[in-house]
């Protein structure tokens, strides 16, 4: 039987606010345990939550960016359950009335096409603390630094049909929240994490199959593997005539498999009800318009503009707009190169990206800035440098030897475009290699490369390649 996979994702994006969603404690990652938890985060008696306006602004910004409806009135609810790292015995979340609903995100497919994925809702909630089970000799340590960190839970429609699509959606969403500067997208630190709802059904079937929810998958690779494992598992069950049980499963990265956490029967009754300590959240039109006015250019429209304005291919434009920093960097390089759109694109995506990758650096912290790279490209465009020499200059810039012009000057790398000088070098090479000259003239055309190489060697690679080729042919054929 042919099977169709149906996937919906729940992404938890940690909002990049300075303080927590309901208290004034700091949100910075990695502090000593329990040093960033105030009385509110500890759930001490009598303390009350006060909503962080910045978290709401970020949620609205996200909603606007995915073309969603922003609720004028939304409600915080309590999700009640007992766990040691949940100090109040309930999590404040949004349940029936979320702040963002009915959005959409367009993803690029591998065949070059696009697909629109529905976003059911995005709601604000607080994170819990962490339970630490190692290092406490059979006891459990509780770190409440993370308790109360603002999260935006972004729930997709079950529109995804493969693990690859799920990853494409997740990557696109991550790029978007980073563009909006509402989440750092750091998956290792858990600022961007994913639960996947996966089910399968026979092709043509309209009803959804029974789903399993895979919890807390913290890398793109694991998302793909976990979903693929789960699809296989479910198809296997169904083909053997068994049924899929609705349950929560955990992905075990070490074993590359998912395993059952709890079934639907064991599912908790969270007893959601509106939090009486918080008034309904009102987002008025005027404020929403202020937020809209500050919406940055988003990846999709930036990509369109790059294609139109710089004449880039769809692929190049997509790569260059994959993050806001990269796109801004490209535009700055293009500008200081004097409008060398293609060369700038090639260099940013090529040698520059490779060097960043090699040294594990961020654009903002690397030794070559946009003005320097643009200056290098100018010297390629005006024939001062050949492509090959330009690579040397780039490496020297990366090593901190200054900008392109001073390196060219210092190292004497200026390309030789003086016909006389090139001719002289050719004459010397031809005179030193009479044997090869004869062979060439006897019809061994391939030897042209040999002569080019010899002349380049003699000129330390500085001869203008086009001129050299032309002059060499003229001399050999005369």
């Amino acid at each position: 039987m042919e099977w169709e996979t149906v996937i919906g994702l729940e992404i938890h994006a940690q909002l990049a606010t300075r303080s927590k969603i309901f208290s004034g404690a700091a949100t910075a990652y990695g502090a000593e345990p329990n040093t960033q938890a105030c009385a509110v985060d500890l759930g001490l008696p009598g303390v009350l939550p006060v909503l962080n306006r910045e978290a709401v602004r970020m949620a609205c910004l996200f909603g606007l960016a995915v073309d969603a409806e922003i609720a004028q009135r939304s409600v915080f609810a309590r999700k009640n359950y007992f766990y040691p790292d949940l100090p109040k015995g309930y999590q404040i979340s949004q349940y029936e009335l979320p702040v963002v609903s009915k959005g959409r995100l367009i993803i690029e497919l591998e065949d070059g096409g696009t697909k629109t994925i529905g976003i059911t809702r995005a709601h604000l909630e607080e994170d819990a603390g962490k339970s630490l089970h190692e290092d406490f000799h059979g006891m459990t340590g509780i770190d409440l630094n993370r308790a109360g960190t603002p999260l935006l839970e972004i729930v997709s429609e079950p529109d995804l049909r493969s693990a690859r699509e799920a990853v494409a959606y997740m990557k696109k969403l991550r790029s978007l929240v980073r563009y909006l500067e509402i989440c750092d997208g750091n998956m290792q630190e858990g600022s961007f994490r994913c639960d996947a709802n996966v089910s399968v059904r026979p092709v043509g079937e309209k009803r959804l199959g029974t789903r399993a929810e895979i919890k807390n998958i913290n890398s793109f690779r694991f998302v793909e593997r976990a979903i693929n494992f789960e699809i296989e598992r479910q198809i296997d069950l169904l083909e053997r005539g068994e049924t899929v049980v609705q349950e929560t499963r955990l992905y075990d990265a070490a074993r590359g498999e998912t395993r059952s956490m709890r079934s639907k029967e064991e599912a908790m009754d969270y007893r959601y009800f509106p939090d009486p300590d918080l008034l309904p959240l009102h987002v008025d039109t005027a404020w929403l318009e202020e937020i809209r006015a500050l919406l940055p250019e988003l990846p999709d429209s930036k990509k369109e503009r790059f294609m139109f304005e710089y004449g880039l291919t769809s692929y190049d434009a997509a790569v260059l707009t994959s993050s806001r920093e990269l796109a801004d960097f490209y535009e700055a390089v293009e500008k200081s190169s004097g409008g060398e759109t293609r060369l700038a694109a090639n260099w940013v995506m090529g040698d520059f990206a490779a060097a960043l990758n090699r040294d594990g650096l961020e654009i903002g912290a690397c030794p070559v800035n946009a003005r320097m790279l643009g200056g290098l490209i100018r010297r390629i465009a005006d024939n001062t440098l050949s492509g090959k020499i330009a690579k040397q200059v780039f490496e020297a810039m990366w090593e901190g030897e200054g900008d392109a012009d001073s390196i060219i000057e210092k190292r004497g790398l200026k390309q030789i475009t003086d016909t006389g000088a090139i001719e002289q070098a050719i004459d010397e090479v031809l005179a030193a290699n009479p044997e090869q000259v004869n062979q060439y003239r006897a019809g061994k055309d391939k030897l042209l490369g040999f002569f080019v190489g010899q002349v380049m060697k003699a000129t330390q690679g500085k001869a203008n390649p086009a001129q050299l080729n032309q002059l060499l042919k003229e001399k050999l054929n005369s």
């Binding site: 759930g43 007992f82 100090p87 015995g89 009754d269 007893r271 959601y272 918080l278």
Partner: protein, 485 residues
């Protein structure tokens, strides 16, 4: 000394007739002498009080004093106090010392007032008789066989027995007005949002409201001046200016429209209490008020509505008492579930557990719509009743409680009959309105309270209406005999 009004005490301090330290010692001595008979304090903080009193004397000497500087008060043990135990009447918090002051406590200290101690109360403010306190019941100063009412029974009894000039209290379903009525004092529950809930241990967040207990409306007004006002740490706190409640006490009542809800004078009301309330209303006629019958048709729904909403909220509010971070923790827990079950099982008393179970049930999947959601709808109907009534009248009057104080033990084994003793007070909390109770007479030795309900943020009018009554009657001046000297 113990019969002086706040105004007289403030004047005495300024005239150097006595110092704040002397005044504080005087009340600490009274507590030491009398509280064994009524058990109105859980904690007496003599050293802390004397330190505050010294600072107050300094402020008085420097001319930095404000109106109530140097005057002692008692805080209900539901308000967190930095460095002094806050038990909320529960074994669960017998060892709990908050690292912060509640908004109310902060304001009192900021105004130079002196905290004598923390008053007894029903456990987590759940009760109408003060019998659910882990620290033992409070006795009614008028009759030690009788309950003082609850949950703020300690504050009411302490004020009635003249162990403190004034006290703070809280009211979720009548917990200020009912004990004020049963102890023959003046108790005001302000509009929901008028007084900060920050640092006030939550029972039912949408109903809880801090307020004041005093011997007179005038004293209540002066204390309300101190504790009322916006607090940015409480999202439900009202961002509204606070009038000077003392400034309008003497305004005339001529033309005041009083509504008497027929539902408050029906079956369950004790005939003697009814007679006293009628007599009080007659006093108001003499003061120039117009009295008319009104109807609050959904009154009968108030108790059942309340006993869904309040337990639902409490079941969630009390989840934080889990033995993990603070408060009571059972011995030798074998695992997490055991830790939870025994810490909560041993730390909470029976009434608290009953309400947690009722509330958990009401919020459960499959029952939520039938109970919690329905109760919220009824809450709107109850509020609408009042809104309609206030189109016709300025204040609503009736009995605070259907009977005078009942005996200790009389209702403690019958929760429903206990719940029904709050039948006239609960609707006010559901609507979020201000209400007060003033002494209006006695049945035998036991006091009867008149309840006056006002429109939102109309505390000034309520206090004015109460004050004018106290200008022509002396019920509020009577002291229970054993504590008169």
């Amino acid at each position: 000394m113990h019969d002086k009004t706040l105004t007289e005490l403030a004047a005495g301090l300024r005239a150097k007739e006595f110092s704040s330290v002397e005044l504080t010692r005087y009340f600490l001595d009274r507590i030491a002498r009398y509280d064994g008979q009524i058990n109105s304090f859980i904690t007496v903080c003599a050293d802390y009080a004397l330190q505050q009193a010294q600072a107050a004397d300094q402020a008085l000497a420097n001319g930095d004093a404000v109106s109530l500087t140097g005057i002692p008060l008692a805080q209900k043990d539901i308000f967190c106090t930095d460095g002094i135990r806050t038990s909320c009447g529960s074994r669960m918090l017998d060892n709990f010392i908050a690292p912060y002051d509640a908004g109310v406590v902060e304001r009192c200290s900021g105004a130079g007032m002196v905290m004598l101690g923390k008053t007894n109360m029903d456990e987590f403010a759940m009760g109408s008789s003060n019998e659910t306190s882990y620290y033992g019941p409070v006795h009614n100063p008028w009759d030690r066989e009788a309950v003082p009412g609850g949950s703020s029974g300690g504050s009411a009894a302490a004020v009635a027995a003249r162990l403190t000039p004034v006290a703070t209290a809280t009211d979720t379903g009548g917990s200020i007005r009912q004990p004020a009525s049963l102890c023959g004092i003046t108790g005001l529950k302000p509009t929901y949002g008028r007084v900060s809930r920050f640092g006030m241990i939550a029972f039912a967040s949408s109903l809880d409201q801090g307020g004041v207990m005093a011997r007179s409306a005038e004293d209540a007004a002066l204390l309300l001046n101190v504790i009322a006002g916006f607090d940015e740490r409480d999202s439900t706190s009202a961002e509204q200016t606070v009038p000077d409640y003392g400034a309008t006490l003497d305004e005339t009542l001529a033309g005041l429209k009083i509504g008497l809800p027929e539902e408050y004078f029906s079956d369950g009301l004790d005939t003697e209490v009814a007679r006293i309330i009628d007599a009080a209303v007659d006093e108001y006629r003499k003061l120039g008020a117009e009295v008319k019958a009104i109807s609050l048709p959904n009154t009968g729904l108030a108790v059942p509505t309340y006993y869904v909403i309040a337990p639902a909220e409490c079941s969630s509010n009390l989840s934080r008492f889990d033995g993990v971070r603070f408060g009571y923790r059972c011995e030798n827990a074998v695992d997490l579930e055991d830790l939870y079950k025994r810490s909560r099982g041993e730390g909470f008393g029976a009434e608290v557990k009953r309400r947690i179970m009722i509330g958990t049930y009401a919020l459960s999947a499959g029952y939520y719509d039938a109970y919690y959601l329905k109760a919220q709808q009824l809450r709107h109907l109850i509020s609408d009743d009042f809104a309609k009534a206030f189109e016709e009248v300025d204040v609503i009057m009736g009995p605070t409680s259907p009977t005078v104080a009942f005996n200790l033990g009389e209702k403690s084994s019958d929760p429903v009959s206990m719940y029904l003793s709050d039948i006239y007070t609960i609707a006010v909390n559901l609507a979020g309105l201000p209400g007060l109770s003033i002494p209006a007479g006695f049945v035998g030795s036991r006091p009867v309270g008149l309840q006056i309900i006002g429109n939102y943020f109309n505390e000034a009018r309520l206090l004015n209406v109460a004050h004018r009554f106290q200008q022509v009657t002396d019920w509020h001046l009577r002291a229970p005999q054993p504590f008169a000297d």
